[in-house]
């Protein structure tokens, strides 16, 4: 079931997107309820979906035990969908019951390829998340000012 466009407007990653593009996004995004301990992504698996937290709490963990937790609406999971080799760098699990918006990666990439305006806005936001989280995923020290859970 497609998501309501009014819900998308409240998500920080979509706040600069125009109404027409929001409608296009809404047609490919759908909500998914998750339960405590449910796994969303597994490290090494093909990155088929990109998730945005709407409620609940989540943990993302990487090889070596490094991890961070997500507690805010608008936090993203599965940014590997945007980077080659399109395999999840970390595993993510729900700490509590909640809900996420699921975006199939292929459909999102197709939408981005067809729409340069949408592409530039989304990629700019995702880049910020990737820059903060990539050091953790690669087992490198994180700068103190970088907050991994920034959406």
């Amino acid at each position: 079931m497609p998501v309501d466009i009014n819900l998308l407007k409240t998500i920080p990653i979509f706040e600069d997107i125009c109404k027409i593009n929001l409608h296009k996004l809404a047609s490919i995004i759908y909500p998914v309820k998750v339960s405590e301990e449910e796994v969303l992504t597994r490290r090494g698996n093909t990155a088929t979906s990109f998730y945005i937290v709407t409620s609940g709490n989540f943990m993302v963990f990487f090889k070596g035990g490094r991890s961070f937790t997500l507690h805010s609406r608008g936090d993203v999971i599965g940014w590997s969908s945007f980077l080659t080799p399109f395999r999840y760098k970390g595993s993510s699990v729900a700490l509590t019951d909640g809900e996420v918006l699921c975006i199939p990666a292929q459909k999102l990439l197709r939408l981005i390829q067809e729409n340069s305006e949408l592409a530039s806005k989304l990629i700019q936001k995702i880049n910020h998340v990737i820059q903060n989280r990539l050091p953790l995923a690669n087992g490198q020290p994180v700068k103190d000012e970088a907050a991994p859970h920034t959406a």
Partner: protein, 142 residues
């Protein structure tokens, strides 16, 4: 005559019964055909449906209060004590997945939501390098 013979041998009853059977059969068949598209949708999405049903069984089996302070079996102090003990067996700082695995092995109640509660209450804090440390908080009694 013919009609009298029919009546004598319950012909009208049999005819009426036959009509009822035929029309009931036709009604059932038309209803089934009208719902066929839903059956086909269910078959197409059977994996998702099976997953949802399993999740429903698991959720109903594991139902219980998810907030620490509302648990009847454990008080907040006891939960903090238990997790503090677990953290003590780990490295400092520790990996959060290690704490969760340890809590699961020890059979602790709802370890994931409990750890989340401890994070939100400030007992478990991130070191911004991907690991976590324990910070004892002063319990305030209401």
């Amino acid at each position: 005559m013919g009609l009298e013979a029919i009546a004598e041998h319950n012909g009208w009853s049999i005819a009426l019964l036959g009509i009822c059977i035929v029309f009931t059969g036709l009604a059932v068949l038309s209803f089934s055909i009208s719902r066929l598209h839903k059956l086909l949708n269910l078959w197409d999405n059977r994996h998702g449906a099976i997953r949802r049903i399993r999740k429903g069984f698991v959720s109903s089996r594991n139902q219980g209060p998810r907030i620490m302070v509302e648990r009847s079996a454990e008080s907040l102090e006891e939960t903090v004590r238990q997790y503090h003990m677990l953290v003590g067996t780990l490295t400092d700082p520790f990996a959060l997945p290690d704490l969760l695995n340890l809590a699961k092995k020890r059979g602790l109640y709802h370890p994931y939501s409990t750890v989340n509660d401890l994070i939100k209450r400030g007992y478990i804090q991130p070191d911004q390098k991907g690991f976590f440390y324990w910070k004892q908080q002063t319990l305030t009694k209401k």
